[in-house]
Symmetry: C2
Subunit: 269 residues, 2 copies
């Protein structure tokens, strides 16, 4: 289990302490954290909590939203928080179209501009930016970065240690160019996240994900491909789903361990 | 208005006769038809109805679903119907993953196999196959073909007159490679369809489209790009939306004419 990480939103509604204690009980060594719960508990307190429990932070969600005015200050704060937590990367959700705008190329140019500003700031704090391509159903409102190829093209002007990419199975699994683009991601994968595509989509499409193994994604094949290009980091389970979050914490964590053993671990070794 | 076409599903619930008479009243010269209403009225009768009204058929929806067993016979029947109607193309929705399967490469290979079988059959009937890339949110259940680049790669082994592609703004607008892939589509565009991306998605994601101009897609820019590579065919409005279909027919058709004049016509000329 030494590469399994649980993203906090998978067990949304619990305190960071409950998550951390649950991970310790189930032998899960890492957690992916979100900024909102951090704000409640305090960044220093969370850093101590995680560290005292012997866990590590695999990622901090999230910075980005580069098409919103005033986003720079918020991203700098997010980088500061990642540094305090010892998070190796800050996940960046690019942001959608500005209100009333249909200028997709303009929004994408804005993302590039902000990466150029933030890359040295991240480097100075020892944090890596992790640009995430989101499923195209979120293009208008959440992320004008939609594919691995596009995220890589945006990241490649920067040193790999400063700007990496996220491979999130839910967002990228459908992409006919994924296998072709993946080798270019060698050395650039800042975070590998897994969940599953289940149907029908929930009314809240953001929270429409399934546990690994419950849907249509061949997570074993994808994990094998990611491992083949040398990725040796954590495999973070990020399931946004209200029904999953409502289940007893220990049941969910036990499921995550089991699915990791079945689907992911055999091809990581 | 000589290149405006109304896809039948935009006014779902009306008879083909109501659609045809409405188009005549509003000076709309073409219609895109669906097979289900054809079955009700009879193909020969519909062909006569459209032709007697002085309209033409811009496309027939739909063949495909190549990952379903027994799909060949159904596609041959669809080609026969397209020929009777004088439809220049049969729109192909590739089909999703077979039940229980996670084999996306296998499903895509099946599409290629079926194209090879159907291309000569289509040619023999004077009908062009129109392979459609669907939005990635439909990848699991409706179409393992998701982008223009992928549809082109699948079509290119065949003569352009036999296998073309559909450019549907709703499905493709988000694609970061769209502008780059579009020139390759010159001579291969069998159908150009417009509607708009509106949010939130409807509970029935299939029927979540907006009228052209109501959403986030820069339809003027896309139409200009499509016209630049020499596309001289119809601009078909395909809006799947229960609320639009419930509005009075003449109101919807008047809106379609107005939006065509505002958004599309200036860059077609």
């Amino acid at each position: 289990m030494n590469r399994l990480s649980v993203n906090q939103i998978t067990v949304d509604g619990r305190s960071t302490r409950e998550l951390v204690e649950g991970c310790v009980r189930h032998g899960i060594p890492a957690v992916g954290l979100w900024r909102e719960p951090l704000a409640e508990t305090g960044v220093e307190a969370v850093a101590k909590l995680v560290s005292d429990a012997g866990l590590r932070v695999s990622s901090l969600c999230r910075g980005g939203f580069f098409t919103r005015p005033g986003c720079l200050d918020d991203n700098l704060r997010a980088l500061d928080e990642a540094a305090v937590l010892g998070a190796p990367c800050l996940v960046l959700v690019a942001g959608g179209l500005p209100p009333g705008s249909k200028d997709l190329p303009g929004a994408r140019a804005k993302v590039m501009e902000m990466l150029a500003v933030l890359a040295p700031e991240a480097a100075a704090r020892g944090v890596r930016l992790a640009l995430e391509g989101l499923h195209p159903m979120f293009c208008a409102d959440r992320a004008v970065v939609a594919t691995l190829g596009q995220a890589l093209a945006m990241a490649e002007p920067f040193p790999a240690a400063q700007v990496g990419v996220v491979i999130d199975a839910y967002h990228l699994w459908w992409d006919p160019r994924l296998a072709e683009d993946l080798p270019r991601a060698a050395g650039r994968i800042a975070s590998y996240q897994v969940s599953d595509w289940i149907l029908p989509l929930a009314a809240d499409t953001l929270r429409s994900r399934g546990l690994p193994g419950d849907g249509h994604i061949d997570l074993t094949a994808l994990t094998r491909d990611v491992a083949r290009i040398g990725y040796a980091g954590d495999v973070e389970v990020e399931v946004m789903n209200a029904e999953v979050a409502a289940r007893p914490l220990d049941d969910v964590l036990a499921d995550l361990v089991r699915r990791h053993q079945e689907l992911v671990l055999p091809v990581l070794a």
